[in-house]
Symmetry: C2
Subunit: 170 residues, 2 copies
């Protein structure tokens, strides 16, 4: 059986080493807090204004834009070498579990990445090397979450299969 990581690499076309090249240099020290805030603001402004793909925008309709921005940039800052803002406020990122309420399909991953690429290109002061590294990280992570989303379906089948409660296979 393929691991989450193997699925993420296969579907994204980004291998693990390239995805985690964000750790080669301290991106937070290089870019600073304000650029991360600007990037996430730029990204979610595009998402909440996505009139071309209403199905995508509707995924976020139960979330407040300001909160979505904060959750995102705090996680990015923490993951890319900055202070652990996200954990101090919300605990472990637990990326897959926290995406459970959302339908993280291949199509949704691609639309997320489409907006993120535009946001990265149009946020001032993000150099080309950082942009490439972040995009590889985001692409791999998006498909890691698609792989994680499939776990929901796998697990759902268990209790229905035999009508009751046979122990789960590991």
């Amino acid at each position: 059986m393929q691991t989450l990581q193997e699925k993420a690499s296969q579907w994204s076309g980004v291998d693990t080493a390239d995805a985690f090249a964000i750790d080669d240099t301290n991106m937070f020290q290089k870019l600073g807090l304000q650029i991360f805030i600007n990037l996430s603001t730029n990204f979610y402004t595009r998402v909440y204004d996505d009139e071309e793909e209403e199905w995508f925008r509707s995924i976020f309709s139960n979330s407040k834009k300001e909160e979505a921005i904060q959750n995102q940039y705090e996680f990015f800052v923490q993951r890319m070498g900055g202070p652990p803002l996200y954990s101090q406020r919300k605990g472990h990122p637990a990326l897959i579990a926290r995406h459970r309420p959302f339908p993280v399909t291949h199509q949704a991953a691609e639309r997320w990445l489409y907006h993120m690429e535009k946001a990265l290109e149009s946020t001032p002061d993000i150099d080309a090397d950082s942009r490439v590294k972040m995009m590889n990280f985001f692409r791999h992570t998006a498909f890691f979450l698609v792989a994680g989303d499939e776990l929901k379906t796998q697990k759902q089948q268990i209790p229905c299969k035999h009508a009751a409660s046979k122990p789960a296979e590991s």
Copy 2:
């Protein structure tokens, strides 16, 4: 509805600030790689030798001890200020999702913590301050995972709604 974090704090008795006091100083720089390897080796030796609570040991019966040790110390090193060893090898920690195969009950959390406390006390060169900080982090995290474990049950009920059990509360 309580968040994962709120449940973790309530059940563990450790608030978020105390749990993430591991970030106040760089624990990896303070302790070094070898101490993390020793701690996890000590911990899993106790777990795999747990003859008092066979139900607990059996949770790990499908996992190789050497691999369990490596997964654990690589995550601890990464989370406590060291190089991102875990992600380079396995991707995002995704703590809740990766614990899905295991029954992370309140009782299992307590037994895990029992062994970890013993391991912390008997691993040489871990100072008292680090021990307290790590134990708070572990205690909070263990119950964060218990809270995460409950998501499995919530989700399982959905497809069975008309076949058997009561509908899931959101």
